[in-house]
Assembly symmetry: C2
Homo-oligomer: 143 residues x 2
């Protein structure tokens, strides 16, 4: 198991937009921006519509990446960024509750979310981290 270090956890807790890469049936990449939370050593995201392309992709091929920009730049002026490589597993239910929790940091305290009277159970994606790359203090997960 690969664990995120303190710097990487701080970045994720700051509610960064995560560029989720999934693989289409023909092997080409697909990208969606999502909100990310934590569940123990895994990362998690909530999705009310299991029919979306990214959800069908993740159900077929669990190899995904999540990339996030850091607000800080290194000494050369390059913005740092975190890339999490993961194996994803989808579970049924809990999407609305997770999205509501994440909306409190991603949009703001007191946000009502999802904006539907009776949200479907949806799915939660659980990301088991396999490798950490990018540019920053997190590139060495022992650091």
């Amino acid at each position: 198991m690969v664990r995120l270090n303190t710097a990487a956890l701080a970045l994720i807790d700051s509610a960064p937009l995560a560029h989720l890469v999934t693989l289409n049936q023909d092997g080409s990449p697909q990208v969606s921006i999502i909100w990310l939370g934590r569940d123990g050593d895994d990362l998690v995201s909530g999705h009310v519509d299991p029919g979306q392309l990214k959800m069908r992709n993740m159900a077929r091929d669990p190899r995904v990446t999540l990339s996030m920009e850091s607000p800080t730049a290194n000494q050369y002026g390059f913005r740092e960024y975190l890339v999490v490589h993961a194996q994803v597993k989808l579970t049924d239910g809990g999407a609305a509750e997770l999205l509501h929790t994440l909306a409190q940091t991603y949009i703001g305290p007191g946000t009502e979310f999802p904006l539907m009277p009776d949200p479907p159970p949806g799915q939660v994606a659980h990301y088991r981290i396999t490798k950490i790359t990018g540019m920053g203090d997190w590139s060495d997960p022992t650091g």
Copy 2:
């Protein structure tokens, strides 16, 4: 050919960080953040080291995506973003000149770049756009 509309071109000209997705030999996704420029209807990036993983990946499989965050949010509080799907072609030489030009907007006017006395010719990646997705006015390229 797919063309970027005015809103998408404005986003690219604002020097956004581009999350470049390439495909590893085993089909899994690889992500690096790069600077993007324009060359006619194509997008371009400069790379001084053709030995990097992303360069070897692009030489083997031309299917890539470039995703960029927009500074604006929609009415639900979601940040807009642009995803460019492309076929990439690498050409030899010109990397340092392109990177120097891009550094003027990505870091700032007067930036010396690359920071090496005699930079190698490197490679330029030319992205021929095949599809536009994401969330924003650009999702409909005729708009």
